[in-house]
Symmetry: C2
Subunit: 338 residues, 2 copies
């Protein structure tokens, strides 16, 4: 049984969504959950459900990190926050993984400095999972704002992304590509050209560059980029999806016939919403931290929390961190031998 520390005060709908998610997870998965946060509030939420036989335990924390706290403030000044306490449980070995739908920057900083980084990893990377045109999923990393990355960082992202993809989706040799501005090797900026050159000499199934247009095509499983680009790509995608949805709604509202049509095709729109629903994908792992860390979307509902817990447990099970250390240290050994 895997023990997961859940920051129960993190998301927009905390602690209700977190507690419900924990209950769903404890009922359906082989996990034990440490629910971290304000004891009274958590007890009250728990008591809304049948939970006596479930392996859920409350761990008290007196502070809460908000969306307005800077990462450094959250790390330095809120040491009894639910986030900090959850990270310490992982650091101490009381839990194998941590899940939080809180302030992304704060979770990254606290995870990195409280739990620590794997010895062969320079910078932990945040991996975003999204549905592609082949009705499968692709993963892009880093979306967590590791700016001004060096080629060796992109290589580490590629290795971590590949191991993550294999662990969760069971593809033995996922295809790995660099996000760039043209498919040809000569295209790109200084960073991607050097990174491509490094990636060609790894044992990864590296297929070269892909363009922004091809990100959703599903011709590759793992897409690697600097965190500045990745963060813009992620947020731009969210913003554009919302924008297009809004425009379509306006067009539909413009006539009665259209509204009737919409009512009839409502099932299609629900189906569409489900296809694009992030909550199925279980949050974004922060890869490279010495203990599995999953960051959920701020708007996480109970289902999203449950899926984040599921992904955390799967990553523990498949010993992702051991594999990352092995791969990266053997790659470093090869590089040192030159």
């Amino acid at each position: 049984m895997t023990t997961i520390a859940l920051d129960a005060m993190g998301g927009d709908h905390a602690p209700r969504a977190e507690v419900e998610g924990a209950i769903l997870a404890a009922r359906s998965l082989d996990v034990r959950i440490l629910l971290v946060g304000a004891e009274g509030a958590l007890r009250q939420e728990l008591d809304r459900h049948k939970h006596r036989d479930l392996p859920i335990q409350i761990v008290n924390a007196t502070e809460v990190v908000t969306m307005n706290d800077s990462p450094s403030h959250a790390f330095r000044r809120k040491k009894d926050s639910s986030l900090h306490v959850a990270a310490r449980l992982v650091h101490d070995g009381s839990a194998e993984a941590m899940v939080s739908a809180g302030n992304t920057g704060a979770v990254m900083t606290v995870a990195r400095f409280v739990i620590g980084t794997l010895s062969s990893v320079d910078r932990p990377a945040l991996a975003w999972t999204f549905p592609n045109m082949k009705e499968k999923v692709s993963v892009i990393l880093d979306v967590g704002a590791n700016v001004d990355s060096k080629p060796e960082h992109l290589e580490q992202f590629a290795v971590m992304g590949e191991i993550y993809y294999r662990a969760i989706w069971g593809i033995r040799r996922p295809r790995v590509a660099l996000l760039s501005i043209g498919e040809e090797e000569t295209k790109g900026n200084e960073l991607t050209r050097e990174a491509a050159n490094r990636l060609k000499h790894t044992s990864l199934n590296f297929t070269g560059n892909i363009e922004g247009r091809d990100m959703f095509r599903g011709n590759v499983e793992v897409i690697v980029c600097d965190g500045f680009i990745g963060n813009i790509a992620l947020k731009l995608s969210e913003g554009l999806a919302e924008h297009l949805g809004g425009m379509l709604k306006k067009s539909i509202k413009s006539s009665l016939t259209s509204q009737l049509g919409y009512a009839l095709s409502k099932r299609a729109f629900d189906d569409f919403r489900k296809r694009t629903d992030y909550s199925e994908y279980g949050g974004a792992p922060l890869l490279g931290v010495r203990g599995i860390t999953i960051i959920g979307h701020g708007r996480s509902n109970a289902n999203a929390i449950k899926n984040a817990i599921r992904v955390a447990a799967e990553l523990c099970h498949s010993r992702v961190n051991e594999k990352i250390e092995q791969e990266l240290s053997s790659a470093a050994a090869i590089a040192a031998r030159g």
Copy 2:
């Protein structure tokens, strides 16, 4: 009357769409058009329309740049291509502007090296126009793959973007922002932090950083970024719009009721398509070239070509290049005085 050299062999639907676009433009705008390309084919296309009284003239060119030609091949080896000849007409002063829906990289290279760059501009920048949530348009530049830009390049992009926006949409002080990974000044990478510092000290209406999510909100008119980011942002947006459209179609096709609903709301979908139709926006200007250059989408239809010609004429009229030279040289003078 403004004279425009039109590369009539450039786009996916050339020369038919180009010739039709030229005719639409010549009928409705105060322009004279030099239709550049294979004389026989162009004559034949022209003869499908009433064109005797229209100010359209064919200029023969024996070669065609294809989508597979590298920019340097197009520039060095195809000197009698319709693209090259059109650029030379601008360079010689026989035309004030050039329009092409051909190979973007080739158009940029040929325009830059045949027509030349404005004396105060280091790198011409490609500006993409898109509809925002406020039902207005925003412009982002550079999307033309000026990689590894320096802060001073981003400053030049900002000045050119502002002048362009004012010329076409008549806003006196368009708001200018930097695309970055957080709104705070401390967020971003080395490039954007330095560029923000420079932009604060210009006379531009600079409002700071915006995130990828806010690109479509319409809170700013001009968005500035390195060409690697901009190119990925543009292509990712195209790819995602296609992807979401495809998923919605699949969902609609999944039941008969949905299909009936779709049929009833078809007008809404047409309206939506019109709202997002790039062909209304008339192509992307390559700002900073010594002669107006407009690059159309490869898939340009006649309407898109006509609108590209319209934008070219408007930019000539409002003396955009003179204004860019003035602004940038006075900015340089201020910087030199320190």
